[in-house]
């Protein structure tokens, strides 16, 4: 005997996926289409006069020194954030992987920053580096560094990079440590018997074997630095001084919600959308196929 569940009608599967489809349409596809449409419009803030201008908003972006500057800045920022947070996470994971006693505590502590909201992370670092009150500023002053990220643009950039990277270390750490755990113990043991030291083993066995994870994280981190760092930047520098920490996503906000230039702001978010699409395609195409080594 076997029990067989039988459905007469075929709408049930549609019904079951409907919530997901509706959410996707409502919160992802619809706004994206709106942004796309808005990017072809030249409109005053109140929406009283609207003109269809084709690609004018995009052409303006191409000719805007500020926008191109923001592009270069974002590239630098995301590479720096990805590099720093992945580097730190890899270092921590390699160490935590070897810890036997209390490894649970180590891991839990390392994961905590991930639970901190971006704005709070920003405020936290802002307090540490506050030019007049910050504890770190105090020590920096003692070694002769005059810290004032409100006026010094490279210090401002450094601070937002540190804060953004700090928040992402946990995420990277989790993936790295999981990847390290999936490496067969026999491989490590064999190389240990052959006389390879810990550093040598890491470089020749572990690092190559976790490279698919590394590549995946690289893509995820770049997307993170592009988009999720808004709260951190908003809290720490608000894009200043000058425009030195105004990355693309912050400029979208600034031009759209502060400057009320909706068309230009929409065009910028369309450009961002294409960047994400490209990154996602790259990830699917290569990560799914595994990195060759």
């Amino acid at each position: 005997m076997h029990k067989r569940v039988h459905y007469n009608t075929s709408y049930l599967p549609y019904l079951l996926v409907a919530p997901q489809i509706i959410i996707t349409l409502l919160f992802f596809i619809w706004p994206a289409v709106q942004a796309l449409y808005q990017s072809f419009l030249l409109e005053d803030a109140f929406g009283l006069s609207t003109e269809f201008v084709w690609f004018d908003n995009f052409i303006d972006l191409y000719h805007s020194e500020q926008y191109l500057g923001s592009f270069a800045r974002t590239a630098f920022f995301s590479v720096a954030v990805a590099g720093l947070s992945m580097g730190m996470a890899l270092f921590f994971a390699a160490l935590a992987d070897r810890v036997i006693k209390g490894s649970h505590t180590y891991r839990t502590l390392l994961i905590i920053p991930y639970a901190v909201a971006p704005v709070l992370a920003g405020t936290l670092w802002l307090f540490l580096f506050n030019p007049t009150l910050g504890i770190v500023t105090y020590f920096l002053d003692a070694v002769g560094i005059d810290w004032n990220h409100k006026l010094n643009s490279s210090q401002a950039m450094t601070l937002v990079i540190i804060a953004a990277a700090w928040k992402q270390v946990s995420y990277n750490f989790l993936f790295f440590i999981a990847a390290m755990h999936s490496i067969p113990k026999s491989l490590i043991e064999a190389s240990a018997i052959d006389g390879a030291g810990p550093v040598h083993r890491f470089l020749t066995i572990i690092f190559p074997l976790i490279s698919p994870t590394t590549f995946f994280l690289l893509v995820v981190n770049i997307i993170y630095a592009f988009f999720d760092t808004f709260g951190i930047i908003h809290a720490i520098t608000a894009g200043g001084p000058g425009n030195s920490t105004e990355i693309l996503v912050y400029k979208v906000f600034n031009d759209g919600f502060v400057g009320l230039d909706l068309g230009g702001s929409a065009a910028q978010s369309v450009v961002l959308m294409f960047i994400v699409i490209v990154l996602t395609v790259v990830q699917f195409k290569y990560v799914e196929r595994k990195v060759e080594y």
Binding site: D44, G47, E51, D60, E65, L260, D261
Partner: protein
């Protein structure tokens, strides 16, 4: 049956509640945070208590930009408030939105409430008038940049009185530094003080078309010799600390109040903060003028915000708006607001009343802003500025000025670049608001 009873009950309830709230509601979105929220609430409550026909609901909506954005978004969703407080740089955006804005002068006329424009300070209302003289929004909180100085430091450096010209500022700053101070002068809201008000005070244009009043096909022209020479002079003064840059907004306040800088140019509305923080004898004086440009100063222009009325509500609620505006600009309310906040009183009657109450005798120097604003009848160069996309333009100006201060550009190059970029934004604004 049950359904019918329910409907009847709810109709009765609706009737009852509307009878209880017979007052017409008028919503007012504002950007006055901190203790000023309480003051705004007090004004609204006092007005509500003074009559029973209308009820003002004052709602705090965040800082100036947030409030303006919220009101615009609400307008697009047809949920706009009757009154919204908009800062002065948003004026051109509001003005251009002809279908959204109900000019206050029309509101008053349509409601039969008298508006005596001659009673308002010319420098205050001229900022918000059309070239034909129609008042578009009601001035609420206005201030102007003044020169704050540290009297104790002046005494120590052997300086007599406040400097009158920029040349005096340079020599005074030098003396202050020589007497052991870290910095001579700092400036807050630099675009407002060193470019916008510098131009008005010395009676030179900031842009074409009467600073934008006569049309949106205007262009900025502040890359002239006068402005750039003065900025370059300040940049050179940085070498010995005579001038120190302290940030785009009001951050440099701390540099003045902790005694680092002997002089500070920023809004008169910092009176309260300075009073609370400075542990030395301070005073305010009129902004310095540039003796290379003019023999005497003109008048300065204001900053701050005004109250705009938005269209799309029932006619009787606009009568409430008109009544409230009348109440708000009465001498008693204005004098109280002025003395509490440090903002400039918007009518001459409120100024006279404050004088009579002895406020200026008890708090010497607090009338500097008003003297400065009403020093002369405003000219085309000094009644105000009206440029679209000005929030972003100020950003550009700030970024370029920062490049002067860090030495990466000369003042001339920076101002040329700022004007070129800003004019692009003006063209964009013109295109969007045809």
């Amino acid at each position: 049956m049950l359904k019918k009873t329910l409907i009847a009950a709810s109709v009765t309830a609706a009737l009852l509640s509307s009878a209880a709230n017979a007052a017409v509601e008028v919503n007012w979105w504002h950007a006055m945070g901190g203790t000023n929220t309480e003051r705004v609430n007090k004004i609204a409550a006092d007005f509500n208590a003074s009559q029973s026909e209308y009820k003002i609901n004052a709602v705090y909506k965040g800082n100036y930009t947030e409030t303006m954005t919220a009101a615009i978004a609400a307008f697009r969703a047809k949920k706009q408030p009757h009154i919204v407080q908009v800062f002065e740089v948003g004026t051109a955006t509001m003005m251009a939105a002809k279908g959204a804005v109900y000019p206050i002068e029309q509101v008053m006329n349509d409601s039969g409430v008298k508006l005596d424009k001659s009673g308002y300070l010319p420098a205050v209302i001229s900022y918000y008038q059309t070239p034909e003289g129609e008042l578009l929004s009601m001035p609420f909180n206005s201030s102007t940049p003044v020169l704050w100085y540290n009297r104790d430091a002046f005494k120590k450096a052997g300086v007599e009185g406040a400097p009158k010209t920029w040349n005096d500022v340079a020599s005074t700053a030098k003396k202050l530094v020589d007497s052991g101070m870290k910095c001579g002068i700092a400036v807050g809201w630099q675009s407002w003080g060193l470019i916008e008000n510098y131009s008005a005070w010395n009676n030179i244009p900031l842009g074409t078309k009467q600073n934008g009043y006569a049309g949106i096909d205007t262009e900025l022209t502040f890359n002239n010799k006068n402005v750039t020479n003065n900025l370059q002079k300040l940049a050179d003064m940085q070498k010995d600390g005579s001038f120190t840059y302290g940030g785009r907004r009001g951050e440099s306040l701390a540099m003045f109040t902790n005694g680092e800088c002997g002089m500070w140019i920023n809004s008169s509305a910092y009176y309260g903060s300075i009073k609370g923080q400075a542990k030395f004898d301070y005073a305010q004086a009129m902004m310095p003028f540039d003796s290379n440009v003019t023999d005497a100063p003109q008048n300065s222009i204001i900053g701050g915000a005004t109250l705009w009325t938005l269209k799309g509500h029932k006619a009787d609620s606009y009568k409430g708006v008109a009544k409230f505006m009348e109440y708000l600009s009465s001498a008693e309310v204005q004098a109280w607001w002025h003395q509490e906040t440090g903002y400039v009183p918007i009518t001459t009657a409120a100024y006279e009343l404050s004088k009579k109450q002895g406020f200026y005798d008890k708090n010497p120097g607090t009338d500097t802003a008003i003297t400065q604003l009403s020093l002369n009848t405003p000219t085309e160069n000094s009644r105000g500025i009206r440029f679209g996309n000005f929030v972003q333009i100020r950003d550009i100006i700030n970024a370029e000025m920062e490049q002067i201060w860090d030495g990466s550009k000369t003042a001339e190059k920076a101002m040329d670049d700022a004007v070129a970029q800003s004019n692009k934004l003006l063209r964009k604004f013109e295109k969007a608001n045809k």
